[in-house]
Symmetry: C2
Subunit: 133 residues, 2 copies
């Protein structure tokens, strides 16, 4: 039983075949798949799975904070496992998504929220850029 499956079990989720497949797909995805992507990848392992189950499972995982839902201004959501904390730079020419992490930024965000009288619960930062020649 994978670590991910354990976390789900702890949260009271039943470990069905479909969920196991979806978790496997997420664990093996190095990118930021859309719901359709996750659906296509799981379907190749289990052709009987339905997209409704993918939607429902991803929502559950989002509530449990095991997954992060992104909206890169595309009109649909993308998901990724909530493992290491990082942000994204989206290449405007190719759509490629580059991950990065920056300690200074983390501290600064905390400080900004605190200065405004808030405790930072969540945040998202996306950079959109063009490759320098």
């Amino acid at each position: 039983m994978s670590n991910l499956e354990e976390l789900c079990a702890q949260a009271g989720l039943k470990m069905t075949g479909q969920r196991r497949t979806i978790l496997k797909v997420l664990g093996e995805s190095a990118d930021h798949p859309s719901v359709e992507d996750v659906y296509a990848r799981t379907k190749s392992m289990d052709p009987s799975i339905s997209i409704a189950t993918v939607y429902r499972t991803l929502s559950l995982l989002d509530e449990l904070d095991l997954v992060i839902r992104h909206e890169f201004q595309e009109g649909y959501s993308r998901y990724e496992l909530n493992w290491d904390h990082h942000h994204h730079l989206i290449d405007l020419e190719t759509g490629k998504v580059i991950e990065f992490q920056n300690d200074e930024l983390e501290k600064l965000k905390e400080k900004i929220a605190r200065d405004l009288g808030y405790e930072l619960v969540d945040h998202r930062l996306e950079l959109y850029g063009r490759k320098l020649k």
Copy 2:
């Protein structure tokens, strides 16, 4: 003719009554109205306006960069005039949106993009927090 209307005219847009009304509404809105909000506010000034026109106009204004489209993970878009550059902190308990600006942050973003080999074209940062007691 307002400054905003001039900018639209320069871009080759015809200044129709509907557009004038929408621009007026945007100029008078201190918040971050959804399309439905903009529609409701324009409708009270011009009951014949249609929501399709609001959608079309906001898209045009977005392309011209006169307006910024936000997606605060709510399943729909919110708009605001692109006047001064700032970011948002969303109060998770009330949904209230607080604007802020931070020079250090601006520099840091540029630097991160440059270090990744990119020219920063656009970006978005949202903080989600809970009010400190």
